[in-house]
Amino acid sequence: MSRKQWIIGFLVLLAGAVIVFAPLPVHAALHTQRTIRVEASQFAYSPAVLDVNPGDTVTIELVSTDVVHGLYLDGYGVSVTADPGQTARLTFAADRSGSYLFRCNVTCGALHPFMIGKIQVGRNTWLWRAIALTVLAALVILIQHPTVPKAQAG
């Protein structure tokens, strides 16, 4: 590898590290107590996507409308189970920003492993960082090998 390629490689890695690790400005929002009613039925949650602010104390009231369902929240490791017709409550502090999936943790039927919802705590910053990384990768490909070959003879 030439010296120029080493320098470009270093700069790309640096840019990648900045994209992944740079702190982003935090929008100050009032920390509130939120109660969200979530209905669970085979094989979906309603609402399926929840939005809360970082720092909120969130209570999910899980109501099952058919069979027993559960809700396990990835990243937080908390869960709750609801019997049909009864409301079960799960309270947690939304102290980690980002997008987290929640999923049914009680076998509820054929599509049980795919019964999934999503909670967004603040902005989904990881998605934007990933998109920026993708753009960087595309630029690297085009800058490293700027191939627009000349027209084929004949």
Binding site: D74, G75, L101, W126, L127, L133, A138, I141, T147, P149
Partner: protein
């Protein structure tokens, strides 16, 4: 950059040893039959049934995360599906017998000597996947049907016709095996040219003619070599080698075949749709995919087929056409299209890996419980039947998926550039196409 593994006598003798291969085959066949039995007679609850858990979680994880990316078609070398038919066809389990049984032994029709049928069978399985993946009895029926079809085809046609032209799994393994850093090749093509009897293709007392209908002397890519090791046994000149090589070595030479190009689109599109259907929060979509025969399912089917066979190829064709325009190239559009489709191989593979990471890590816990209670009858063979479900490594999942998808884009971009250099067409629009596809996958997974 190639390193011959068969230069080590121990490796070569292990690969040539029929008894070792037979042992692996018996284990695989036993597991396969057990999966079918548990599907038919075990609990109908998918995540408690050995058939579902071991086929769609354990086997799938090993296949797509390890076997295909690193060892190419190695699964085909140990796959139990063609074995009963092949043993009947050969009239032997180990060495070739003195007298071959008289089956029809027909050649597969020339018109069907491509992977269009594999594209069709994969698309069919994909359309019914919500049911197949979750219903033990349906999984058992599909597995049993595959083994019966393979047996039937072995009676009528020569060699492994089922594997080569029908199997829905074989088609995409062949496509992605091109990216793997392992290959079977001849050491010196000149030796093959002067070889008179070609026992690697037609067989000899030392072994069978290539079951995959491939002449190793002309092998230029991994797509159709099943790594069965017969040619290693039959070559009288010790001219066959198993080599390690750089990743994606086969992709340097772009494909010229439309069936292979469409395989790339089908796989890329199916990975995107699966990410939305199985891992997204949209219950209506899941139910539409699951409710086979209903109006919703027909809508899902139409959208699925339109996406993988219409929208993706048309957008890609547009990208290739713009690339041609940028360079004022005279290369035919069809040739450019199939050539650039080769560049989608790494992208599709990495899409499947990113999708599977999420699917496998969140469901792997079921493996331990179903191992102890494979039929869901209340057994506790290894004391792990009541292990509670718990997803693994979910905090690492998003960075890992991002790394895989961005890596896939870099890999595809570089492959597209090499293809562009080869056919003298700008790869920039194809790279933009791949970037947009990566955005879509990121949006669905993150």
């Amino acid at each position: 950059m190639r390193f011959e593994l068969t230069r080590f006598p121990l490796v070569k003798s292990l690969l040539k040893n029929r008894w070792l291969q037979l042992l692996v085959w018996f284990v695989m066949l036993a597991g396969f039959l057990f999966a079918i039995l548990s599907g038919f007679f075990g609990t109908p609850v998918g995540n408690r049934n050995f058939g579902i858990v071991f086929v769609w979680i354990a086997w799938w994880a090993v296949l797509i995360l390890v076997a295909v990316p690193f060892f190419g078609r190695v699964w085909c070398a140990v796959c139990p599906i063609p074995l009963p038919g092949e043993w009947l066809q050969r009239g032997a389990i180990l060495e070739p017998p003195a007298k071959k049984p008289h089956w029809f032994n027909l050649r597969w029709p020339n018109r069907l000597r491509n992977i269009w049928l594999q594209n069709l069978t994969f698309s069919l399985v994909a359309l019914f996947s919500s049911v197949i993946l979750t219903t033990p009895k349906v999984t058992a029926i599909v597995l049993a049907a595959m083994i019966f079809l393979a047996v039937g085809m072995s009676m009528v046609f020569e060699r492994r016709t089922f594997c080569r032209y029908i199997c829905p799994v074989s088609g995409f393994i062949g496509l992605y095996a091109q990216a793997a850093p392992l290959e079977l090749r001849v050491k010196d093509k000149q030796v093959c040219l002067t070889c008179k009897d070609k026992p690697c293709y037609s067989g000899s007392p030392a072994g069978y003619g290539c079951p995959w209908d491939v002449f190793p002397g002309g092998l230029a890519k991994n797509t159709y070599c099943g790594l069965c090791m017969e040619c290693l046994r039959t070559c009288p000149y010790d001219n066959i080698a198993i080599n390690t090589r750089p990743f994606s070595a086969d992709l340097i030479k772009p494909s010229t075949r439309m069936d292979e190009a469409f395989k790339a689109f089908i796989m890329l599109g199916a990975a995107i749709i699966y990410a939305g259907v199985f891992l997204g929060p949209w219950g209506t979509l899941k139910l539409a995919a699951y409710s086979v025969g209903t109006l919703y399912w027909f809508g899902y089917t139409a959208a699925f087929l339109a996406f993988i066979l219409g929208l993706l190829p048309v957008l890609f064709l547009g990208a290739v056409w713009i690339g041609k325009g940028l360079t004022k190239a005279t290369t035919a559009l069809k040739k450019s299209f199939t050539a650039f489709a080769t560049a989608l191989v790494p992208l599709g593979l990495m899409f499947w890996i990113a999708f599977s990471l999420s699917f496998v890590l969140t469901n792997a816990a079921y493996i331990l419980s179903s191992l102890s209670d494979p039929f869901g009858w209340g057994w506790n063979l290894f004391g792990t039947a009541s292990i509670a479900w718990q997803p693994f490594l979910t905090t690492l999942l998003l960075p890992l998926q991002t790394l895989v998808l961005v890596g896939g884009l870099l890999w595809t971009g570089r492959t597209a550039q090499k293809t562009g250099e080869e056919i003298k067409i700008s790869p920039v629009p194809v790279i933009v196409f791949s970037t947009v596809a990566t955005f879509a996958m990121l949006g669905l997974l993150l």
